[in-house]
């Protein structure tokens, strides 16, 4: 069967990186000290501590800077994200975690004042390439938001939305199949299979968030970005989403922003600590939590866990 797939049509040619964006050398600004979690001045150091590289890189961000007008929100961040790896972004509010996350699927494009420099590649292809349509990128790099945001449509239509606009299903049976599989993978099918025609907004908060995850995996992405996906949920719903992440990382790379150290420790394999727009430390989760190398990281983690 031939399916008109927008996604397939835009897939990257050879995975060659195009140098379309200007690299700026921002490392000079790292020499000064910055205030830590408690307001004490701490030396930042020239480089990100730990290991920004990983064994099997899938998404690679090199020297990324983001400006909102004059506000320099992300400063020279380099980070690799591995295939089928869960990486957690942590750090105090306003340090640029969401901004960095939005760079990875070009959601910053819709913010008028935002400007991104540096290089980000997905599976070897530059995602800021002028010829690449962000629409296609977003089908490959899905996103789950802080507050569950199901569309005011039925549960079925919420999940079918992505496959429909991307032309992933040839006929109704195929679409049904995608919807059921996605709900199943998101651990929601049992609860909703008798009421697929009910509005998505009639579900509880935790179910809504799983519906949003189902909606995201229905377009078969390669990376899933999650921006504090549990901060609006109760502990039980949170635990379900965390279990779900453990299963999903068998197929997808997951980048999760979280304010909960426990959550980061439970679900992620690597942790990246951001501070005032700088990427301070990246390493394996157990290393960062048991033995952080940077003073800022240590201060933050001890401050958070108490």
């Amino acid at each position: 069967m031939v399916v008109a797939s927008r996604k397939a049509a835009y897939h990257h040619k050879d995975g060659e990186m195009t140098e379309t964006l200007v690299k700026k050398n921002m490392s000079a600004s790292r020499t000064s000290a910055v205030p830590n979690y408690r307001g004490q001045q701490v030396e930042l150091g020239r480089e990100t501590v730990g290991n920004v590289r990983c064994a099997n890189p899938f998404m690679v961000a090199e020297n990324v800077n983001v400006f909102y007008g004059d506000n320099h929100a992300i400063k020279d961040v380099t980070l690799e994200i591995g295939k089928k790896e869960v990486i957690a972004l942590i750090g105090p509010s306003g340090c640029g975690k969401s901004t960095f996350l939005r760079c990875l699927n070009r959601m910053n494009d819709s913010i008028e004042s935002a400007r991104v420099t540096g290089n980000i590649s997905l599976d070897g292809g530059d995602i800021y390439d002028k010829t690449l349509d962000p629409v296609v990128l977003r089908a490959r790099v899905g996103m789950v938001f802080q507050k569950p945001n199901p569309f005011p449509k039925s549960i079925y239509d919420n999940v079918a939305y992505g496959p429909r606009i991307h032309g992933l299903a040839g006929d109704r049976a195929e679409l049904d199949d995608i919807v059921h599989r996605s709900l199943e993978r998101a651990g929601l099918l049992k609860e909703v299979k008798d009421r697929l025609d009910d509005p998505g907004t009639s579900l509880s908060g935790g179910q809504q968030q799983r519906l949003c995850i189902a909606r995201t995996i229905a377009v078969n992405p390669e990376v899933i970005l999650m921006d504090e996906p549990c901060s609006a949920l109760d502990p039980i719903a949170t635990a379900r989403i965390e279990d779900l992440m453990d299963e999903l990382c068998e197929d997808y790379a997951i980048v999760i922003v979280t304010h909960s150290m426990q959550q980061a420790a439970r679900v992620s394999r690597r942790v990246a600590y951001f501070h005032l727009g700088y990427l301070v430390e990246v390493d394996d989760t157990d290393k960062v939590f048991t033995n952080p190398h940077h003073k800022l990281t240590e201060d933050y983690i001890t401050g958070r866990i108490g």
Partner: protein, 462 residues
């Protein structure tokens, strides 16, 4: 004393009362530095005294104004010779009117004799006495009220609470004015309409298809009865409204979509105020435009395409009315679109929707109830619009669906029925009230549905 002078004097007194009250409140606690000893701030004591100085005399003044004419007239009538006192009501009224006119120096429609002159002089005299008495009483009451209030000033006086109570009542009175006016309007229209329906059966009015309200003056003339079938008027209204909506809805919607989702902040900053200016143009100006520019143009284009076009056509009026309504539709739609949480937009974009997919598949469906409500409000605006139709669509009550012919609308007929000299109890004049009542009911229903859907939808995302 003239009542304007009186009110001016009372104004001065109230200002004086304010300062007197304020300074006394400070004096009773022992000087400006000790204001903390007062329950209420000194200013509230000032307002308290001021209110007592103004409100009672004001009440007296308005009560006096209400009863004064009746009492004076009765007293003048008493002084007339017995033969005249026993005249039938109509003639007595005429006589009193003449006395009043003579007294004030207006034109009098009767011979002036001694009795008559005496009554007029008496009338003037009573009036002057009444005014003198009133001035004294009002000023005295003001002074008395102010003085009593002034004496009550005490550190524990709850002046603030009393002033707040007065303010609250003043606000309640002000806001009920609009409500009572509405009720008054409805009742007056309703009563006149009932009189009309005693002359013309409701069924004829609602279902008759001929509208020619010209009743002849003499009963034996042709067409003396007139005919009051309102169907052509409502059909004309619907036709013009439909044309207006065909123009306004798509253009307004697209304008709103562009402004809300596609335009840059700069374009939006220029276009929104421009649209608001368009909404502020008086409809009579649109009327010129319709009659002088659009109607001839419609005629030329229509005729070159082989249609027969009246010089005043439903199409011209409808087109211009549509343009007039565009800002209303676009601003209500814009509100509805902006009320859709940006999380919906992000969610759709995050799944890889294009801008137009986000718009048509997510945002518009979510905003639909608000948009529908806005359109209903626009429809009711179009139905009630008069000026453009008077100037561009004509007065001929044709029952037709042809947009090139002249039609007329309910509002236009109301205007023509009431303009010029009329007997107030003729069926022709009363018909205007029946039409007004119908119009009121229809627009009321549309407004209720429109506001209800707009509001219900707003709550959905809160």
């Amino acid at each position: 004393m003239h009542s304007t002078t009186l009110i001016l004097l009372m104004g001065f007194m109230s200002i004086a009362a304010f300062y007197l009250g304020r300074s006394r409140s400070l004096a009773v606690v022992g000087g400006p530095g000790r204001g903390k000893g007062l329950h209420s701030l000194p200013g509230y004591h000032g307002y308290f005294v001021s209110i007592w100085c103004v409100l009672p005399p004001l009440a007296l003044l308005s009560g006096w104004m209400l009863v004064e004419p009746g009492i004076i007239t009765a007293m003048v009538v008493k002084s007339l010779p017995a033969s005249q006192q026993e005249l039938p009501a109509g003639e007595l009224n005429l006589l009193i009117n003449n006395i009043r006119n003579l007294a004030t120096g207006d034109v009098v429609s009767a011979a002036i004799n001694a009795d008559f002159q005496r009554a007029a002089d008496l009338y003037n005299e009573y009036n002057a006495t009444s005014r003198r008495l009133l001035s004294v009483l009002v000023l005295g009451l003001a002074a008395l009220g102010g003085a009593l209030a002034w004496r009550r000033i005490h550190p524990d006086l709850r002046a603030r609470n009393k002033v707040e109570t007065v303010i609250r009542w003043a606000l309640i009175v002000a806001s009920s004015i609009a409500v009572f006016t509405t009720i008054g309007i409805v009742l007056s229209v309703l009563f006149e309409a009932i009189v009309f329906f005693q002359k013309v059966p409701v069924s004829e009015f609602l279902f008759g298809t001929t509208w020619s309200p010209q009743t002849a003056i003499r009963a034996d003339q042709v067409g003396s009865s007139g005919s009051f079938g309102a169907v052509p008027l409502f059909a004309g209204t619907m036709l013009i409204t439909a044309i207006a909506m065909i123009v306004a809805v798509p253009v307004g919607l697209m304008t709103a979509i562009f402004l809300a989702e596609y335009s840059s902040a700069r374009v939006r900053g220029i276009a929104k105020p421009l649209l608001e200016i368009l909404a502020g143009i008086p409809t009579v100006v649109y009327g010129f435009f319709a009659a002088l520019t659009v109607a001839p143009w419609v005629r030329r284009v229509g005729e070159s395409a082989g249609f027969e076009v009246a010089s005043e056509s439903a199409l011209a009026a409808g087109l211009v009315m549509g343009i007039m309504i565009i800002p209303l539709v676009s601003s209500l739609t814009d509100d509805a679109i902006n009320a859709v949480p940006s999380a919906m937009r992000d969610g759709a974009l995050g799944l890889g929707s294009t801008r137009s997919e986000t718009m048509t598949k997510v945002i518009l469906p979510a905003a639909l109830p608000g948009i529908v409500g806005g359109i209903l409000l626009a429809v009711s605006r179009a139905i009630g619009e008069t000026m453009i139709v008077v100037m561009a669509a004509g007065l001929a009550a044709n029952l037709t669906a042809n947009p090139f012919s002249a039609v007329t609308t309910v509002t236009v007929q109301i205007v023509t029925l009431l303009v010029g000299d009329q007997e107030f109890d003729s069926a022709k004049t009363l018909a205007a009230f029946a039409l007004g009542l119908m119009l009121f009911i229809v627009t009321l229903i549309l407004n209720i549905i429109g506001l209800y859907t707009v509001r219900k939808y707003r709550e959905q995302y809160e």
